[in-house]
Amino acid sequence: MAVLDRMNSMFRRAPRWTYIALALAFALIFPVLEQYGVIETLWLRLGTRTLVYVLLAVGLNLVLGETGLLHLGYVAFFAVGAYTTASLSSPRLGYHWNFWVIIALAMLLSMLFGFFIGLPTLRLRGDYLAIVTLAFGEITRITFNNWESVTNGPGGIPGIYAPNLFGWVVDKPGEFFYLLLAAVIVVVWLLNNIKTSRIGRAWNALREDEIASHHSGVRPLQAKLLAVVLSSGVAGLAGAIFAYYQQFINPTYFLFMQSTIVVCMVVLGGMGSIPGAVIGAVVLDTTPELIRQLFTKWLPDAVGADFLPGVQTALQQDFDRYRMLIFGLAIVLMVIFRPEGLLPNKLWRREVHEDDPRDQANTRQHMFDAEKGAQDLEA
């Protein structure tokens, strides 16, 4: 873990934009690598799905990380967006609406949905909010499952048309990659601006102490509602593009497990940190595949089929079956050794490691001591 710590301090020391530019440049040339056969199409297809999760994680970070609301029904808004696309751009109901109209409508519908769910539930705190949002997530899925006249119930909606952006028909993984990348960049830029604005500080204040912030002039319900509505819009956007990309959706895409995974992405990436949410999504979505490739391809290719001496060869060939086990183990280790997440923001990091010597300079006691010393000197 020391390596990660060092990387983290390096990250903080070096100017931030170099890393952002590097990540952006890598993302931009990623589909080109596939074009030239440097990487297999699999990685592009996986990367595209990862970008959907990046959108979701960045959106949930607003509620979970910034405002500190444990929201366990986030996938419901993702579902609203996906079903908007599927209903209005497939042979199911016979509509073939414009891409931009659908995107706008998907975001609007999920924001409305977020508003009406948020209004009664956001008066609750902590565990109660978690339970109620969980229930709403499940109710949404069951509704889509039963609303057969529109959603075709459990059979799902196949044959979703490819989107047409001013004449550019997006139907290859690489094209979807760029479309999603553009969405991620716009959303991250917007959310980053909001984060450092007045309302962003109000959210952080709410997270730290709701009563104190209320007495300092923050309206809790209003601020929370804004966070929930905005993040619902991001989920709706992600869902709408995801449905286009998959060309098929059914209710099993929107199980409670999906909400949990997005929560894990935010927590493992580092609560309240946008780069953290991005890294969390990338790591959690790609690791199972990396483990699979490592054990079924890279290791056998490099070392030979008998890459784990002493383990049955048949077992080694069946590694596909054990990858989720290894994945789970990796997460547990990560939570033990790095509870603040991969790229946490400063505040959250300090909360988890209260006695971190590197942050000593910023603690209240130290400041008090320094102040006192200065006063003594003056005297």
């Binding site: 100017p15 934009w17 170099t18 530019a21 952006l24 440049a25 931009l28 040339i29 589909p31 080109v32 074009q35 056969g37 297999e40 199409t41 699999l42 297809r45 996986l46 799905r49 069951i142 499952n145 039963n146 119930g153 459990p154 059979g155 799902g156 196949p158 044959g159 290859k172 993984p173 690489g174 094209e175 760029y178 998959q246 060309q247 098929f248 959706i249 059914n250 099993t252 895409y253 595949e289 699979r292 069946d318 596909d320 079956r321 990858r323 989720m324």
Partner: protein
């Protein structure tokens, strides 16, 4: 002093702008390349130096669920296919002997994972894919296989609409749910039912089955009332009340045995005296325990979605081979997966080619003698059996003192 400060800021900004411009330039140039790049990835080893006696290896993909809730079905499919790969390896086309290499990939039973697995198999260069395990995953990956011109043959995706989605590359070696649904309906009519309750669990499989049962019952003029539960429910008192008020002579539940057991128990306790029926979802001997005692299920009837084991010519030999290879009983749909690979090999021999498009064409023509009997595929890719694939194929079972017994 003043201007140096400005200078530094200016430099910092320039660097920022430069970096962004660079990234953009890279992106724009590459964007063009992505746009006009041809899909010429498939022009690989076509060295047709097919001299007598050479041996080549062809890759067949397997997309199934080795983890997740349906892992037992996935295990049965993967093991059956491993046996099949050994059995069918060494077939000849134009003097070239072909060995089969299976590429087995786990899709966790999640539709979001299915396209990733599909792409992985295509990257490996497979000529055909056996899968997927579930209808949802099949729908999610079919567009990708279609674009690549690779046939997908499922041994267990039974949802009726799969073959009606205009994918010419999809085939299946299992029977459709609507055939079973019709068989349940016909059976209920044969028994002289006049008022029937049909209940499903809102699952993919269950709803399609219930729809078909109702269609058959409606056609026969039977009075039908529909109820629904959710998979995982434990309390059915609302439905039991409705059923009691309707006073049916037959109750058909198209979900799985766990819910069926609880439902039957609660119906018996409420004093409903009706004939209980179900599909292959309730065909588990555990249902007696789940219903709080075998007496609550005694006399219940069920059907099965595949051919009766007793009617499959090659089943005994296959089950023995499966037992020898894995030490376990052949699981559900194992034989269908075995036959799927057999049909692909037969199609390749018929076509005299190992190209995906040729295999797709040949699968429509091929007649393959497999574990389940002589199989052919109809024009939309459903399995057809010589002598008509009617409801008489569906085997029937009755629950007698703790076990489901086959009815001749």
């Amino acid at each position: 002093m003043h201007w140096t400060g400005d200078m530094r800021m200016w430099q910092g900004n320039t660097r920022k702008v430069l970096a962004l411009l660079l990234a953009l330039a890279v992106a724009v140039s590459m964007f063009g390349l992505v746009g006009c790049g041809d899909d010429d990835a498939d022009t690989e080893d076509t060295d047709t130096t097919s001299t007598e006696g050479t041996t080549e290896t062809i890759k067949i993909g397997v997309a199934t669920s080795l983890t997740g809730g349906l892992a037992d079905y996935g295990f049965a499919a993967a093991e059956a296919l491993k046996i099949a790969a050994v059995d069918f390896s060494g077939f000849e086309i134009d003097g070239v002997t072909y060995e089969i290499e299976l590429i087995i990939k786990d899709d966790k039973g999640e539709p979001a994972e299915a396209p990733v697995v599909a792409q992985q198999l295509l990257d490996e260069g497979v000529v055909a894919v056996i899968g997927c395990l579930t209808s949802g995953n099949t729908k999610a990956s079919l567009p990708i296989y279609q674009a690549a011109g690779i046939p997908l043959i499922s041994g267990s995706a039974t949802r009726p609409d799969l073959t009606e989605l205009d994918f010419e590359n999809f085939f299946r070696t299992c029977l459709r749910d609507d055939l079973q649904g019709a068989a349940i309906g016909e059976w209920a009519v044969e028994l002289g039912s006049e008022k029937v309750v049909v209940m499903d669990d809102r699952g993919d499989y269950s709803v399609a089955l219930a729809d078909e049962v109702i269609k058959t019952l409606d056609a026969a003029g039977v009075e039908v009332s529909r109820e629904e539960g959710q998979e995982g429910d434990v309390d059915f008192s609302a439905q039991v009340n409705n059923i009691k008020a309707f006073a049916p002579d037959t109750v058909i539940f198209t979900g799985y045995h766990r819910e069926a057991g609880l439902l039957f128990k609660q119906l018996v306790e409420a004093g409903v005296e009706a004939q209980f029926m179900g599909g292959d979802g309730i065909k588990s001997n555990d249902i007696g325990d789940e219903a709080g005692g075998a007496e609550n299920v005694e006399g219940a009837l069920c059907t099965f979605g595949g051919f009766a084991q007793e009617n499959m010519p090659g089943y005994t030999a296959f089950a023995d081979a499966f037992m020898a290879a894995t030490g376990k009983e052949a699981g559900p749909y194992a034989e269908n997966n075995y036959d799927a690979l057999g049909a692909v090999v037969a199609a390749m021999q018929l076509a005299g080619s190992t190209e995906g498009a040729d295999i797709i064409d040949a699968l429509h023509e091929v007649e393959y003698d497999g574990v389940q009997g002589a199989l052919t595929f109809d024009s939309i890719g459903d399995v057809a059996v010589p002598g008509g694939g009617g409801t008489e194929l569906i085997p029937r079972f009755e629950y007698k003192s703790g076990v489901w017994e086959f009815i001749e």
